[in-house]
Every structure is written in C-alpha cells, then in structure tokens.
C-alpha cells in the first residue's frame, strides 16, 4: 500500500472497519427498513450527513467500544488533540486510552475554524464537550430502555452502563451502538468556523467529578516523530507526482514579460507554468525543479521599487494617511482630563515587520483530475484551504478534499495557504499531481508578515501623582491586509499573481488590561500596504496577532509612569488594576520570582555587566498572564540575556497541565526571540531577510536559564486560550528589566546588541 492510499482511505468507513464495526457501505442504497429506522432510531447503520446539527459529525462509537472524534480544529503541536480527547472521554465516561481523534480532514470533520486565535479548547473543546455529554445522555437512555431500568438509576464507568446497586444489569456503549452512528440532532447555532456551537439536551459534568480532565496525559504524536515514522505534509508522495518550484521577482511588484523556456531545455522533464504574474516550474525530480527555477531566464516588467528605505519605515507609518480608525474604548473624557493635568508623560514605541520564518518553507501537494482535487496541506485551516483551492480551480468546494497533515511550525497565517494555491495552479496546468515547496528565501522573504507599527501613549497626572487620564494609540499596517486564511484567491500570492485584486482589510487591536483609569481611551489606526499586489510585505496574523507589539508599548509605558513617580512597578500596577484574576496573576508572578519592592531603575551597579528585573501583565481575551523577566545586560556589547522568567498564567479550567506547561514555555522563548532579534529587513526593491543569517532568531546559548511557571487553575471557569497568551507580555517585561538594569528605556524592538549598545552610550 502506498502512502497515498493510506492517507486517502483515512475515511470514517475504514476507521469503523478497523474498529471491528458493523460494516455497512456508506454508498449502499437504503432499503425501506433501514430508511424507516434512520428516521426514528438514535442509532443508525448509515452515516447521517456531515452537518453541524448531527451528533455523528463529532463522535462515533466503534464496534470494539473505542470512541472516534472528528475535529475541525488543528493541533499544531501544542497537544490540542490530547486535550480534546480528555474532554470527550471525561464526559462520556470512557477510558482515555479508548479515544481516537481525526483532525482537519474536510471529508470527515466540520469547519470549526481551524487553528485560530487560541480557540482550540475555548471554542473547539467547548463544542466537543457538549457533543460528548449529549452522546452520554443518549447512550444512557438507550441503556435504560434495554435494561428496563430508569436512566436516573444507571451509572457509567469505562463505557459500561450498569444499574446502580445491581452490577449484573449492565450493557456497554459497544453493545448499544458500536459500529453504528448516532442519529441525534443538536441545536446548532447556524454558524461555521470558531463560533460553531451545537449543544444537545445534556448538561456537561460538574468539574468536581473530573477524573480525566486536569491530568498531565502526555502527547501521543511525539514518538512517531522521534522515531521517524510520522509524515509531515512535506513527506506525502503520490504516484505520478511532479515537483514544483515558484519564481518570485527581484523587485517586488514586477511581473514576467518574457520567459525563455529554452534556458531550461536541458533539464529532464522541466516545464514552465506562466500565466500573468504567476511563474513556476515543474520537473519529475525535485532537484531538477530547483535547478530549473534557478536557471530559467526571465525578463521582468520595469516596476518601480515599491518600498521606503528601511530606516524611514517608522516615519512612513507616522505620516501615512489613516485608512481606518477605531476607538475601542473611551471611558470618561480623556481630552478634558488632560487639560487639567499637573503633568503629562508621553512616549512612542516602534515594532518592526516580523516573519513566521517556519522551519520548513510552505509546501502543499495537489492532485487534480476528473474535476476533483485532493490537497495535502499543513495549513492551520483546512476547510478554508478547501474553498481557496476550489476557487483557484473553478470547481465547487465539495469537489475538493483537503487532507490535513502536520506541518513545520505554525504561528498564524503563514505561507502554507499560499503554497496550496500555487500547487493547485501548477497541478491544473500540467495535468499531474504537483508537490510544491518554497525555498528558504521564499519562506522568509515572501511569507505574510506580522505588521510593523508605532504606538503612542500619554498619561495625565494630577498634583498628587495619580493617573487621571490615559490615551493609547496604535498605528500600523493592518493585521488583515491579507486575510487569516487562503479561502479566497485575493488573499493568496497565486490569486494576486493571476490578477485578482487585493481587498486589503483593516484590523489592529487594543491593549488587554483592567487598569481603572478614570479617563481612558484606547484606539488604533491602520494604513495602506506599501504594495497592493503580491507583496512580500503583505501583513497578516502571526502568533498572538499584534499582541506583542501592542503590549510591548502599553506595558513599557505603565512602567515609565511607575518610574516617573518613583513607585515600585508591581505596586504601581496593583494601584490601578481592577480585575481580581488580573491582580492574582500579578501577585503570583511577583511572589514566585522573589520580587523586591523598589522603584526602577536600580542605579546601584557599576561596570559593564548589569542585571535587572521587570514585570508585564496582560489579558488576552479571558486569559491573563503576568511575567517577571530577569535580564543580564552587557553594556560593552549591548547584548541582553533574558536569564529567567517567572510566569503566572490563568486560562480558567486547566485541561492538561503538561500541554499547558509546554505551551507557556514555548511562547516565552519564541517571544523572547521576537523581542531580542527578529526584524524583517528590506530595501526599496524587496525584502532582504532571506535566510537565518539575515533573519536571526534566538539560539541555544541565548535561551533562558530558567522559566518558572505558576499555573493558576479555576476548574469552575470555562477554559480559555493558552496557545498564544504568554507571548504578549514578554517584550514589555524584557524592556522593563533592561530599564531596571541600565536606567535606559528602549522603545524600539528588536533589542539587538547594536541597537541597545547605541542607546546605552
């Protein structure tokens, strides 16, 4: 059996067979009897349609009693699949080991939004929990009828339903429904994506009865990767497949005007695919495709260099016309309060473009024949890629099957969706399955970027040193210049290369905090992209979209206020923070770190090697995080070592402390990398960050010595996102610690040695 068949046959029907289920061909014609049964029974042999209002769309019980879950959000390596299995096993009262989960296949799962905004547990888990609770209710009702015992007198343990006090009267989930499908309607809210919600009649368990949720169950996908047995999207091969590579212009915005196919005629099987701005090559062998992409002679249009000089970036943002302004919150009357101020403090902060720079550049495989397409992709959002590939190919989305396969790192709207669209165009053009993978320069220079921005903050103080007004404004490129997914050609490079006009969206964000200033205004403004077509500086979501930049500024500024008033930074925050859970994380982080109360900066160190500590705290939706950073700064080189972090994290109910611990730790390290090193470089012609030398990230010698994590558990509060929240306080905490150590406030990221050294002089 080839890999292709293994993957392609990964259907519900096969899975039921594998589980020893009653085998009923899904495509078999219904007889009068089965049709009649399907109308009324809660268990049916024929699978109901894959719709959000059908319980069978989420959960089935196999003949051997194992339970399969079908999930429309992707696990990008943070253990989400384990958490979801725990939540379902808990509600169903089946052993965790009996759970299986199948993720992101458009043939077997619903569009639950994909990996999106840290909602895997918050939204996806919520739905799966409700579905599992309903499945248990239905199964207990079925058992009641079978055993002749009222449902209220039945207990369930490990998938066995028995009469309370009379264990001889029993049946099992496997006996009740194993191998058949639920035929149970749910109360669907009519929405797809993240807000999809379809509860049944059942109420979920009381958290005090949990035995599986909250346990540190390890991930089960790691061994396969460590022993080289698991496939990534990059590793899928199908018969007759050819390799594709894309060719991007040296000057962003240029399009090919002449392509000399004879320049690659010596390369076996090499073919050019050229349509308007779209230019790629294919070849039977991968190395030949790479050689052809390099050798192809192309004459490009005479495009004007579209970008400002990099040093002028922040001036450009300052001066650019505002395209959209959004005042998120205006409490009191900020302008009036400023007129009464005894003192005004203000500051401006700058954040660069950043790249996802995934370890593996974008890759996808598309097989298109007889009007049907199959796409293997490591995207965060397979159901949206289904729409995008369908649109590119001009076929209904029902004729596109996207098989999600794990990919190389995923931190938002990366180049994964661009690769799927490119592969679709190439596959259609050459009539063969095409696997396309970008080269490193394309993965770094041409992926969607986190937006660059400036942030201005002002505070009005009265004569007693109280903050009487606070005014915060972010201005930058939009977080949705291209959208969060590739469902529309206009949001992919292929679509734009083929002439679909960009429809640049507007979005940024507000600081997440509960500072109770009497007069408070937070706002954002977006500006137009630098290039409106197939731009390597198109901006989109990257891990905790706009969170690191907004809170680098907002939490640095709070620290500036504390310093100006000569108040300890923790104490200053506690004066104004209103939310009890916010107060709890700040206190927990401070206490665990051994925080000594005093104002910053220290001012007691001499010599080149100095140390300091800083705090930052944030909300991210309903999740709260406080971080204390302890840094060493070498004044002679400007180099910062973020030596220790103490993190207090509250995301409500903790499903799996093992997964949560890793999620927090990895957020902290990646955000440290973004704070200290990451900046997309460009010149007037193009992005010049093309590899790991020109886009450096944190290395092993720079990793912290210690990350100490306090996980605050609230079993009674619905679980909320942890996939990104710990990223956003890190830049502010580091900058505040650098100020504490040096007395110098760094207001621009990244805090590279060169920049810091210059600032310290």
């Amino acid at each position: 059996m080839t890999k292709h068949e293994q993957v392609k046959n990964f259907s519900r029907r096969t899975l039921l067979k594998a589980g020893g289920a009653l085998v009923v061909s899904i495509g078999a014609p219904l007889t009068f009897d089965t049709a009649h049964a399907a109308d009324s029974a809660t268990a049916v042999a024929t699978k109901p349609p894959l719709m959000p209002d059908q319980l069978s769309s989420y959960i089935t019980v196999n003949a051997d009693g194992t339970v399969s879950a079908y999930f429309g959000k992707m696990d990008m390596g943070q253990g989400l699949s384990v958490a979801i299995k725990q939540m379902i096993a808990e509600e169903l009262d089946v052993p965790y080991a009996n759970m299986k989960i199948f993720i992101g296949d458009t043939d077997t799962s619903l569009n639950q939004g994909g990996a999106s905004g840290s909602t895997g547990v918050q939204e996806g888990g919520k739905q799966m929990r409700m579905a599992a609770a309903e499945a248990r209710r239905v199964l207990v009702d079925m058992a009641a009828e079978k055993l002749g015992v009222p449902a209220g007198q039945l207990t369930v343990k490990d998938g066995v339903v028995s009469a309370t006090g009379d264990a001889s009267k029993k049946t099992s989930y496997a006996d009740l429904i194993g191998g058949k499908f639920f035929n149970v309607h749910l109360d669907w809210n009519g929405k797809y994506g993240n807000p999809l919600y379809a509860p049944g009649k059942a109420k979920p368990k009381d958290p005090k009865d949990y035995t599986i949720v909250g346990k540190p169950i390890p991930r089960d996908d790691i061994a396969g990767k460590v022993f080289a047995q698991a496939d990534f999207a990059m590793d899928i091969k199908v018969s007759g497949m050819v390799h594709g590579r894309m060719i991007r212009p040296a000057i962003a915005g240029a399009v090919p005007v002449k392509v000399d196919e004879s320049s690659i005629k010596g390369i076996p099987g090499a073919k050019v695919v050229w349509d308007k701005g779209f230019l790629g090559v294919v070849a039977d062998r991968e190395w030949d495709a790479i050689k052809a992409a390099r050798a192809l002679k192309v004459e490009w249009s005479n495009a004007s260099p579209p970008f400002p000089d990099q040093p002028a970036l922040y001036d450009h943002i300052r001066k650019a016309p505002t395209r959209k302004r959004d005042v998120g919150k205006h409490i009191g009357d900020v302008d009036a309060a400023f007129k009464t101020a005894a003192k005004v403090i203000e500051a401006e902060y700058e954040w660069p473009f950043q790249s996802h720079a995934r370890m593996g550049p974008g890759c996808a495989l598309v097989d298109f024949k007889d009007g049907h397409a199959t796409c293997w992709s490591g995207t965060q959002k397979s159901h949206f890629v289904q729409m995008g590939v369908a649109a590119i190919l001009g076929i209904p989305k029902e004729q596109v099957h996207v098989i999600w396969t794990t990919g190389p790192g995923s931190y938002g709207r990366s180049d994964a969706d661009d690769a799927a669209a490119d592969a679709a165009v190439l596959a259609k053009a050459v009539g063969k399955p095409v696997r396309v993978q970008y080269m490193r320069d394309q993965g770094t220079a041409w992926d969607p970027k986190a937006p660059a921005s400036i942030h201005t903050a002002r505070a009005a103080l009265d004569a007693a040193g109280n903050v009487i007004a606070y005014d915060y404004l972010s201005k930058g490129f939009s977080r949705v210049d291209v959208d969060t997914n590739g469902s529309q050609p206009r949001d992919t490079l292929a679509g734009q290369d083929l002439g679909v006009a960009l429809k640049s969206g507007d979005g940024f964000g507000f600081p997440g905090d509960s500072y109770g200033f009497a007069n408070k205004r937070t706002a954002w403004e977006t500006i137009a992209p630098l290039l409106d077509r197939a731009s390597p500086l198109r901006t989109a979501h990257m891990r905790d979209p706009v969170g690191p930049q907004i809170h680098f500024a907002s939490e640095s500024f709070i620290d500036e206020l504390a310093a100006a008033l000569k108040v300890d930074p923790v104490e200053f925050r506690l004066r104004y923070v209103r939310d009890p859970r916010d107060i709890a994380v700040i206190k927990a982080a401070a206490e665990k770190s051994g925080w000594q109360s005093r104002p910053s900066p220290r001012n007691d160190q001499r010599g080149d090697k100095v140390s300091g500590r800083g705090i930052a705290y944030v909300q991210r939706g309903p999740t709260r995080v406080a971080v204390v950073a302890e840094v060493d700064v070498d004044r002679s080189t400007g180099k910062i070592w973020a030596r220790k972090f103490t993190v207090a994290h509250d995301c409500g109910q903790i499903i799996n402390p093992n997964g949560l611990h890793h999620a927090i730790e990895n957020n902290i390290v990646q955000a440290t990398s973004r704070t200290l090193w990451e900046e997309v470089k460009f010149d007037k012609r193009n992005v010049t960050s093309v590899d790991w030398r020109t886009y450096p990230i944190l290395d092993m010698t720079e990793a912290p010595a210690e990350i100490d994590i306090v996980m605050i558990n609230h079993p009674e509060i619905a679980p909320t996102g942890a996939g990104e929240a710990a990223s956003r306080p890190v830049p502010g905490a580091i900058a505040n610690a650098v100020f504490d150590a040096t007395g110098v406030r760094i207001r621009r990221a990244p805090l590279t040695p060169d920049y810091v050294k210059a600032a310290l002089i």
Partner: protein, 155 residues
C-alpha cells in the same frame, strides 16, 4: 547526467540513479523513501536535514551524492527504533520535547554525536555545541532537559 551510486544507508546498501550534484537530502527523501531528514534552508544554516556520515553530523542538503562515497549514512530512523531507542529518542519522548518537531533531526543527530564524544557535559557545553541548530517553536528549554536526561542515561 544521471549516474548510478551505491550508498550504505542505515546499514543497508542501496543503489540509486541521480545526477552527481544532487544533494543527498533529495536522494534520501525522494529515491529511498526516508522522509525524515527535512528541507529547512538548503544552506546548512538550520540543521533540519542533518544525517550522520561515518558518525559525523552533516547537512544532507549541502552534500552532493557524488561526495558521499562509501561513508556510512545514518538518518534519525537509523539512530534507534522504538524497540531499541537511542537514549536521546527516549529522552525526547519522556520530556515531550517538540512542538512541531520539524527541526528534530538537527537537534537529535547533533546531540547524539556530541554526547558520544562528551560524557557528562555541562549546561554551557551543551548550549555551545547546539548553537547552530534552529528551533522556531521555542522548545529550547525542553531540548536542554532532554539532552541532559540522555547524557545521564549514557553515563
């Protein structure tokens, strides 16, 4: 022009036809079905393609097949198996190291060679030895824990 090459990969002689300038990475992945070494940069900067050549960690993305010769090639799949794991593989599972795991060839293959040659390394020695390997997901802390755990297992 395509030529025939015989490679010893994970203890087995394999014969392939390829252009002499083809990087070993593509031969392993596309001709020999060993998907695990990954393309990360093609520049020898990240480590995702690392294999051992006669025990020495080597960027397979930069090594033409014609320059492999009779050196023994070992990939992550050849380093150990679930039945006979390398201590680093055991430690990686126990410490739940990876997020996406795309980078692990670089870390495990380099750390394996380092631990073979350096018993009881210090934290600083481990960090320095692995400086040039990239992990984008930020799993550095867990990597350090796993390498130290493996070092302890290897005595």
């Amino acid at each position: 022009m395509s030529k025939q090459f015989t490679l010893n990969v994970n203890g087995v002689d394999r014969t392939v036809e390829a252009d002499p300038d083809t990087p070993l990475l593509y031969v392993l992945r596309d001709d020999l079905g060993l998907n695990n070494p990954h393309f990360g940069c093609g520049l020898g900067q990240c480590g995702a393609c690392t294999v051992h050549l006669d025990g020495k960690p080597t960027h397979s993305c930069r090594r033409p097949i014609a320059a492999v010769g009779d050196k023994k090639v070992v990939t992550l799949a050849g380093l150990g198996t679930p039945e006979h794991p390398h201590p680093l593989q055991t430690a990686y599972v126990q410490e739940q190291v990876p997020q996406c795991a795309y980078c692990i060839n670089g870390w495990i293959m380099n750390a394996a060679a380092f631990l073979r040659d350096n018993k009881k390394p210090t934290d600083e020695q481990i960090r320095t030895a692995l400086t040039h390997i990239k992990c984008r997901c930020g799993t550095h802390m867990a990597i350090l824990r796993a390498v130290k755990r493996a070092a302890a297992m290897m005595g």
